[in-house]
C-alpha cells in the first residue's frame, strides 16, 4: 500500500491524485496531496510511475499498512527505481532501460527447454 508522499520532493502537481485508479489520494489546498483512503489502495504502483518527482513510496504489502521510516526510504535508492526501469518520461531514450517486454515469450520458451533438458 502507499505509505509515503515525501514533502521533500513533491511539487504538489496532483498528477497522482488524478491517476490513482482507486481514488486513494485527495488534493489538499496549498499542500501536497493527502493519503486520504489508504485502505482503498490496490498496490498497483501507478502513482510511483506517474510521479515526475519520484516522491511516492508504495510498500509491497497489499493487505495492511506497513509504516516505513522516511529517512531510510529517502536514502534507499528505491524511489524512482520503478519509473526508471520502465524507461518512463526522461528515461525513455536511455539505452539501459529499453523496453524488453517482448522477451516474455522467449523467457517462457527457455523455461520449457530447461524442463525438457531435465534441469
Amino acid at each position: 500500500m502507499i505509505e509515503l508522499i515525501l514533502e521533500e520532493r513533491c511539487a504538489a502537481c496532483n498528477k497522482c491524485v488524478e491517476i490513482c485508479p482507486t481514488n486513494v489520494l485527495a488534493i489538499a489546498p496549498d499542500r501536497i496531496p493527502r493519503i486520504a483512503r489508504q485502505e482503498e489502495c490496490e498496490t498497483c504502483f501507478m502513482c510511483e510511475l506517474y510521479c515526475p518527482h519520484d516522491a511516492i513510496y508504495v510498500g509491497p504489502d497489499c493487505e495492511k499498512p506497513q509504516p516505513v521510516d522516511k529517512g531510510a526510504i529517502l536514502v534507499s535508492g528505491l524511489l524512482g527505481e520503478f519509473r526508471r526501469n520502465h524507461g518512463w518520461d526522461e528515461w525513455a531514450n536511455d539505452p539501459h532501460y529499453t523496453n524488453e517486454h517482448w522477451q516474455m515469450e522467449n523467457v517462457f520458451l527457455r523455461a520449457r527447454d530447461l524442463v525438457k533438458a531435465g534441469q
Partner: protein
C-alpha cells in the same frame, strides 16, 4: 442521499456510451469514434491506469496470415485445448482483427525491435499500452469521464438500453448520459481477491446488464488462480516458470512444470505453508527481468528478499472471470448482448467463443479485448444511428439502489461470504456437486436480504453496488458450476471426473431473484446470422 434524489447531476448526451476504460473500452471508444459516433467513455478510476491491463503486460494471440496453415493450426490446437466449446470462425476473426489492429498504435506506443530488427507487436507493456490508448481516445475527441463509476443502466420502453447513470467520485454529484447505445467494458471480476490491478473490477457490468435482461455464459469457468509472493498482489507469472516449490519442512514439492500447477499447489497450500525460490532462473534472464516486467521485482527488493537465492512464502490469488472466461453472452458478430442497444467487450463478455474451457490468459484474452472492443464500438454506432432521439430511458438499478425497505446491511460481511464461496481453494478448485449446491444456497440467502434492504448512501453507494454485483456474479458462477455436471477444462469436479459428451455446449445463466441455467445449443447459428 440516494442518487435518484440528488440535485446536482451532470447531464450529457452522446451516440455511444462506453462504460469502462481499460483495454477493451478504449479500443471500443476509438472504433466508435472512427465510425463517426460521438462518444463518452466513463471509467470508475482513471482511463490509462485502471484495470488489469495497466498493471500487466499482455501478450496477444498473434499469428501471421501467411502461410495460411499457421492460423489453421493455431485454431485447431486451440479447439482441442478448449474442449469443444470454442468456435473456429470466431477464432479466425479474432486472429485477423488483432493482426490488423496492433500496428495502428504506431506513433502512440513505442514498439520494441528484437535482435533481428523486427518490430514486436505481440507483447505490449501494460502501463505504456494503456497510456497510448488513452492518448488515442483523447486525440480522437472521445469525452473521457475519469473517476465516474456507472451505477445503473437506463432502459427505453421497448427494452433497449439508452444510457447510464453514476457518480462523480472526485468532483461530487452524479452523472447521467443519454446515449443511442451502450458498450459494457467493465472487465471481469476477481471478487476483490488480491489479483494485481483488479480492484475496480467488481462485476458491475454483469449486474447492470442482467438488470436489463441480459444473459451470461461460461460462468462456471471462474477457477483460475495465480501465484504471488505471500502478502503481495504481484501475480505476474513469467518468472514463476522457473519456480521450485517446497513444503514447510523444506522438502521439494513435486509440482509439474507448465500450466497445470493450480491443483497441486492448492492441495499443498491446504496442508500448510508453501515456499518457493527462483534459483533455476538463468543468470542472463535475471539481469533482464527488471526491464521485461519492471513491477515484478518491486516487492522482493523492498522486502530485501533475493528470490533467486532465498525461499519465500507464496500464495495464490483467485482470478474469477479475469483469467477465468465467463461473462455476458454474445449473440451477434458485433458483440451484441441479448438486450438491444447493449454491447459487451473484453472480460465483461464471455471469452468461451475463442478461449474454450481453459483460461484465455497469455494470449486470447487481450486479443479478444482488442477485437471485441472494436466490434462492439462499431455495433453500438450502427445501433445509435438507427435510434434517432436521445430521450432518457428509465433507470433500472435494483439491488443496493432501490430496496423494498431499507435496513442496514453489512457490506464487509457480505463480501466475506462471497469471497469464501468463490475464492477458497477447497470449494472453488476442488469442486463437487454437494459443495456447489451449498454455496448456491448460502449466496441465495444473503442475496434475498441484500436485495430487499441494502441502500447505498452517499459515499457508500459505490461499494454497495459493487457488493451487489459480486454477490450476483457469485450466484451465477455457483449455479453454472453445478449445472456443468462433469469435468471440462479448468472446471474440475471431484465428483464428476469425466468429460460428458452430452455437455459439449455452453451453459447460459441469468436471473436476479431467481437464478436459472440452460444449455446453449444455438452455437453454430451465432455467426450464420
Amino acid at each position: 442521499m440516494s442518487i435518484s434524489s440528488s440535485g446536482d447531476t451532470l447531464h450529457l448526451e452522446a451516440d455511444v456510451l462506453i462504460i469502462g476504460g481499460g483495454l477493451a473500452g478504449t479500443w471500443a471508444a476509438a472504433a466508435a469514434r472512427q465510425a463517426g459516433a460521438s462518444v463518452i467513455l466513463a471509467d470508475k478510476g482513471y482511463c490509462g491506469t485502471s484495470g488489469v491491463t495497466a498493471t500487466a503486460g499482455p501478450g496477444h494471440w498473434w499469428v501471421p496470415p501467411d502461410p495460411p496453415e499457421l492460423r489453421e493450426n493455431a485454431i485447431r490446437n486451440r479447439q482441442k485445448s478448449g474442449f469443444g466449446i470454442n468456435d473456429p470462425e470466431w477464432m479466425a476473426r479474432v486472429l485477423a482483427k488483432t493482426w490488423e489492429s496492433l500496428p495502428t498504435l504506431h506513433g502512440f506506443y513505442d514498439f520494441s525491435k528484437d535482435e533481428t530488427g523486427a518490430t514486436r507487436y505481440r507483447e505490449l507493456r501494460g502501463p505504456e499500452y494503456m497510456r497510448a490508448l488513452r492518448k488515442i481516445v483523447d486525440s480522437l475527441g472521445v469525452t473521457v469521464l475519469d473517476h465516474c463509476p456507472a451505477l445503473e443502466l437506463l432502459q427505453r420502453p421497448d427494452g433497449s438500453v439508452s444510457g447510464a447513470r453514476g457518480i462523480r467520485r472526485q468532483k461530487g454529484g452524479a452523472w447521467q448520459v443519454n446515449a443511442g447505445a451502450v458498450v459494457l467494458a467493465t472487465g471481469g471480476t476477481s471478487f476483490l481477491s488480491r489479483l494485481l490491478g483488479s480492484h475496480t473490477n467488481t462485476g458491475d457490468g454483469y449486474l447492470m446488464a442482467a438488470e436489463a435482461g441480459a444473459e451470461l455464459s461460461g460462468m462456471e469457468f471462474t477457477n483460475y488462480y495465480t501465484v504471488a509472493l505471500a502478502g503481495t498482489n504481484m501475480t505476474r507469472s513469467m518468472s514463476y516458470a522457473f519456480a521450485t516449490y517446497y513444503d514447510e519442512d523444506g522438502n521439494r514439492l513435486p509440482i509439474p512444470p507448465g500450466p497445470d500447477i493450480i491443483r497441486p499447489l492448492a492441495a499443498a497450500m491446504l496442508k500448510g505453508k508453501v515456499f518457493c525460490d527462483l534459483s533455476r532462473t538463468p543468470e542472463d534472464i535475471r539481469a533482464k527481468v527488471p526491464i521485461i516486467s519492471p513491477n515484478f521485482m518491486l516487492p522482493f527488493r523492498r522486502w530485501d528478499i533475493d528470490p533467486y537465492r532465498d525461499k519465500f512464502e507464496v500464495t495464490m490469488h483467485g482470478e474469477g472471470t479475469v483469467r477465468g472466461i465467463g461473462g455476458l453472452r454474445i449473440v451477434s458478430e458485433d458483440c451484441g448482448t441479448s438486450v438491444p442497444g447493449l454491447y459487451a467487450a473484453g472480460d465483461a463478455a464471455t471469452r468461451e467463443l475463442v478461449a474454450g474451457a481453459i483460461s484465455g490468459g497469455g494470449n486470447v484474452n487481450s486479443a479478444w479485448a482488442v477485437s471485441s472492443g472494436q466490434w462492439a464500438g462499431e455495433g453500438a454506432t450502427r445501433f445509435a444511428v438507427r435510434q434517432r432521439g436521445r430521450d432518457s430511458g428509465r433507470p433500472i438499478g435494483q439491488a443496493g439502489l432501490r430496496p423494498v425497505s431499507q435496513h442496514a446491511v453489512d457490506l464487509r460481511a457480505t463480501l466475506s461470504v462471497v469471497q469464501n464461496e468463490m475464492l477458497s481453494y477447497d470449494k472453488n478448485i476442488f469442486r463437487a456437486g454437494e459443495k456447489l449446491k451449498r454455496s448456491g444456497e448460502v449466496l441465495d440467502d444473503i442475496w434475498k436480504i441484500f436485495r430487499a434492504h441494502a441502500l447505498g448512501n452517499g459515499a457508500d453507494v459505490l461499494r454497495t453496488r459493487e457488493t451487489a454485483a459480486m454477490l450476483a456474479t457469485a450466484r451465477w458462477s455457483a449455479a453454472s458450476a453445478l449445472a456443468r455436471d462433469e469435468s471440462r477444462g479448468m472446471h474440475q469436479r471431484d465428483d464428476r471426473p469425466q468429460t460428458d459428451a452430452r455437455l459439449e455446449h455452453r451453459i447460459l445463466v441469468g436471473g436476479l431473484d431467481k437464478v436459472w441455467t440452460s444449455g446453449d445449443r444455438s452455437r453454430p447459428l451465432e455467426l450464420a446470422s
